[in-house]
Each structure stands twice: as structure tokens, then as C-alpha cells.
Subunit: 212 residues, 2 copies
């Protein structure tokens, strides 16, 4: 086993350190956040920090990096309180990654990447057409993380859309059936394959693999 | 596409709703958090909400569910400010999942699951022996999420240990080479496979797949 401590971290070159530390939390979700400003300019950005907060009410959050530079997604969410989250499936990983480029405020990542907007049920913010799992959110809570000036942005899910073939009998969604990718570190896209679906854990009762 | 809105969510049976909403944020990390109380009693718990907060300083967080029932991991972290995070590799997914069972405070999930403790560099909290990626943390910030009474627990990484075969030239860790699993929803374990490692995104520059 290789070992590094805080003093070792401080000796690492900035990009190397970022690649390393971004790898240690484990596999990440891969999502596109769609927004629109009050002038009607759309924006789309890839995020690998979307995280489940609660099911009742349905709350989903993401980590917003420091807003010391222009952050169009964040600005639009604060101004309009509406945004969409769209899963990244295998067919669009290049386009999804390209949304991370530093485009100007007056440029839309939809135009730049040829991903298509889709407006569902008159929701204000655009969805990504073709994504097999999409939902709309209303901003619920914005929390400042003092230690490094990031924020936790929490939204309440309003409407949820998904390809019916993903739905299992117990309510879970088989993201693998939609070729939905995950992200490793900063730049690596992953396909997924189920190894086990385990029964509810109780003391002194053996687990069953429900896939078998 | 199937569609559900907030009114539909409220009609769903509780467990079904939990399975569904836990699936929509995307693929999750799979980690075991190791703690010890001041009497020396160890605790180990599976978490699917570990998330990267920042690289400099190295900050990793997780979502703590409401502490209206006994939460041994949380109690130990608040009391001792020390804990470990250990990646779940394929060989231990049953044992990892079993740590979710509601054991008594005086029972250790290490004993109950036959996962072995390991103490590295005199750190107070136990690591999971055999995990290919492990790190120790000091509690840095505890943030209350008002909307649903959960918490974001942020720790600063102190020491990092990983199997050398995971390390790539750019500093990233290939979790697939350690058979590290991801989690889907509440109970499904996933193996991962790289589909692309994409170059740094800039406007008007085509992306390269660095795996090729």
C-alpha cells in the first residue's frame, strides 16, 4: 500500500493533487444541470457531485465550487429557482464533458455541443433531449460550506421523467438498462454492471442476492 | 417516458418511494465508515453518500440521516472527531451491506460481519483490513440541512492509503483495478468499467479519449 499524509499532499503539483483527491471518495454520479436566465439564455453544465438528500420530501443536492469566477449555472438557479438534472447516457459523454469548457455567458452549451433542449410541461428550465432520466427541481436551500467556500445547493424534485424500461417492481431504476454512465475523478466515464442486489439487512439473518 | 410529479410521489408506498427517489441522483459511491467510541467500542457502517468537497484542503463529506434514532457512527465522530473511510471492493459487498443492520451499541459490526479492524500509524479509529483504498479524517465542519433534518458531515483527510496498482501517471486512481464497487439506489452493488478518459475541455478544441 502506498501512503500519503497532509504534508505529502502539499508537495504535489496542483493538477496531480486534484486528480488524486478527486478519486478517493469513490464512484460519482454523472449529470447535466440545465438552467435558463431571465433573458432566456440557456446554460448546461456537467456535474459529478449530485447526491441524494432525502426521499420524503424528494431532495437532491450538488456541490457548487467557489463563486469567485462566473458560475452561470449557480447564477441562474439563484435568480430563477428552477433547474433540471439529466442523467448522462453513453451516447452523449463527449458532449456532456465538453460543457465543462469555459464558454461566455452569452453562449449556450446546448448550441456549442449540439445537445438539444427539450421543454416539458411548461417548466422554465430546459431538459436535455434524449436523456433516459430527467427531473425538474425548485431551489429549496443554499448552504455555505465555510471551510473552503463551496456551497451545497439543495432542490426539491417537482417532476420526474424516465424511460419505462428502467423501472423495476420495487420502484428502483436500473440505470444500467439506460446505458447511464458514472464518473471517476474529474474526467473518466464508466459503464456499470450489477453484481448483486442485496436484501434488507437485519441482525442474524443471512443476506440474499435478489438478482439470482 | 414515464412521468411522475409531487402529487404522484405522495401516493407511493413508503419503501417503493424510497427505492425510486434513491435511484434518480445517479450512481453512488460505496464506502465503509469506521469509528470507535471513547470506551474503545468499534463501529462500522456502509454509506452511499460520500462526496468530494475539495482537493486543497482535501475535504470529503457524507450525508447523515436524521439523528432521531441511535446513530453510532455520528455519535462517535462528534465525540472523537476521528474516523476512517474505506472503499468497498467486490470481495466484501455482503459484509459491507450487512453493517446496515440495526445492531446494538455494544455490538461491533466488525465482529458481526467478520470484517477485520486494522490500525494504521496509531490513528484512533479502525480501518477495514484489505480495503484497497482507505483514508483517515478529522471532523472539520458539521452542517444542518433544515429542510429534512439531515446533516452534511465534512472531514479533512489526514492520511491516505491505496494499493499502488491503482495509481495512474496523472495522479488519478483507477478504482476499477481494485475491483471497487459502486452503489445504485439502496441495495444494488455495481462493478465499473472505463468507457473514456476525456481531455480537459476548452472551447473550440475537440476532446480526446486518453484511453485510446
Amino acid at each position: 500500500m502506498k501512503k500519503l499524509n497532509t504534508a505529502d499532499f502539499d508537495k504535489l503539483e496542483k493538477r496531480y493533487r486534484s486528480q488524486l483527491i478527486n478519486s478517493i471518495s469513490g464512484v460519482k454520479s454523472g449529470n447535466l444541470i440545465g438552467t435558463k436566465n431571465i433573458e432566456g439564455q440557456t446554460n448546461l453544465a456537467v456535474f459529478n457531485s449530485v447526491v441524494h438528500i432525502g426521499s420524503d420530501p424528494a431532495l437532491i443536492a450538488f456541490i457548487q465550487r467557489p463563486t469567485t469566477v462566473e458560475r452561470h449555472t449557480y447564477e441562474n438557479i439563484i435568480a430563477t429557482e428552477k433547474y433540471t438534472i439529466n442523467a448522462i447516457h453513453h451516447e452523449i459523454i463527449y458532449q456532456a464533458h465538453q460543457t465543462a469548457a469555459r464558454y461566455m455567458r452569452e453562449e449556450s452549451e446546448f448550441d456549442e455541443t449540439s445537445l438539444e433542449t427539450e421543454y416539458l410541461d411548461d417548466f422554465f428550465a430546459p431538459f436535455v433531449k434524449g436523456s433516459p432520466l430527467q427531473f425538474s427541481l425548485k431551489l429549496e436551500e443554499e448552504i455555505s460550506i465555510k471551510t473552503n467556500d463551496t456551497k451545497l445547493i439543495i432542490g426539491r424534485v417537482e417532476s420526474l421523467y424516465f424511460d419505462e424500461k428502467l423501472l423495476e417492481k420495487d420502484g428502483s431504476l436500473s440505470l444500467d438498462k439506460g446505458s447511464i454512465n458514472a464518473i471517476l475523478g474529474l474526467d473518466t466515464y464508466l459503464s456499470i454492471k450489477k453484481t448483486a442486489k442485496l436484501s434488507y439487512a437485519k441482525p442474524d439473518r443471512p443476506l440474499k442476492n435478489l438478482l439470482k
